[in-house]
Symmetry: C2
Subunit: 245 residues, 2 copies
């Protein structure tokens, strides 16, 4: 049964302040909840409607699901079209260490502000086998429902950290590649075995202090006239190039 | 002066039915309106607030701008944060001919449904110098305000057509590349001098009848576990590969 008190708490998880208070977040929809069940996240509880369970092709463990009405589902969902299944999950307790930069590609995001962009970048990281995404402290919240939804389940497989990225980057010897508008073409690069790819804010790019401690400034070449590519596009193209050459 | 009648007409342009009735659409925001002024589109009228014009760094031709109040701006804007400047533009009257496929890259979209994805793909086309984007008849409307906004001005430089893409593709000898989940890796391809890149619907991919008349099935290689990349990501990575090799 969903008590009024618990309902209020769940609804409050739409706001970062309350997600942080409870160290919990919402996962909505069949695919995302399914991926969550098969991940290392600890699920607090799962709610579904009878109508959803009757139709779903995925066999969820019914002993772990609380059945609620469609009206209750609507009240706790953040989506216009409530999804039929919602899980409340605990945050994952992970810590990034400098040695995690070694022998792999890492994405570092400097003040990404759009939750959809962050979600899409996490999906890209998952596609290209990039284990770690590090966000500057002021970046949009990973546990934002829009971010989680737009990862299409990839949030369960990619580690996302929030750090003072200047301090972190200053400590590592792994080569740092800042994606800027007037750098060297990525076409002229050879494929690195380890690298840190830095993507900037959607409007303001990468902070100068971060660019100054980078080893390379890189650019996606252009033959048309668009002023820029969006942050997620840039992350996709550069990840592809760094992974497959 | 903005009459009540005209205000109603402008507000109605948020809906496809009325855009088609008047053959007009809305362009919102400083950058987009600026690009519109420098394009081959015919502007019907431009509205701006005094507050916006006082602050704008772009010198708009004031003789062509009707000043309206912030309240009026709010009523005609489709955005939560009204932008200060809005133009009403006529549709561009263009027609695609089969010979336009020759000696260049073309993007064909099979039932793209998300306006943000379409806008982003148009921005990608503009970045990579792809002149023409052809949408299947059932694709989301190019003149949708969300689509126009998410092109970041690129809607003025890329020609977007709506066609029966099956009939069109059946008529051309230019090689057709369908982007699917189980095709040949784009890493093994040589750079073509002319090609038609086909991107499918976000959930259902490309229709079988279109795949069947394609010359190649291509896939973006993956080393991670994400089930898919979104349509705009795929368009970005494949366009980059086709243009730069």
């Amino acid at each position: 049964m969903l008590t009024n008190n618990r309902k209020k708490e769940i609804i409050s998880l739409k706001h970062k302040k309350f997600r942080q208070k409870y160290s919990q977040f919402l996962v909505e929809g069949e695919k995302s909840v399914f991926e969550l069940c098969n991940s290392s996240f600890t699920i607090v509880e799962t709610y579904a409607t009878r109508q959803f369970l009757d139709k779903s092709k995925i066999k969820f463990d019914l002993s772990k699901i609380l059945i609620i009405s469609e009206k209750e589902m609507k009240s706790i969902s953040s989506l216009e079209n409530p999804p039929g299944i919602i899980a409340v999950s605990n945050f994952k307790d992970i810590k990034f260490s400098i040695s995690d930069f070694s022998n792999k590609l890492t994405l570092v995001l400097d003040n990404i502000s759009d939750p959809g962009n962050l979600g899409t970048i996490i999906r890209i990281a998952d596609w290209y086998g990039i284990e770690n995404v590090i966000c500057s402290d002021k970046s949009v919240d990973f546990y934002n429902t829009k971010t989680i939804n737009s990862t299409m389940g990839s949030f369960t497989r990619v580690n996302v950290y929030y750090e003072n990225i200047y301090e972190l980057l200053a400590k590592t010897k792994v080569k740092k590649y800042s994606c800027v508008i007037n750098g060297n073409s990525i076409q002229q690069m050879s494929k690195p075995t380890e690298a840190i790819i830095i993507i900037g804010n959607e409007s303001n790019g990468i902070n100068d202090e971060i660019i100054n401690i980078s080893d390379y400034k890189i650019t996606i070449p252009r033959i048309g006239k668009a002023e820029s590519l969006n942050a997620a596009m840039a992350a996709a193209i550069i990840s592809h190039k760094f992974v497959f050459g």
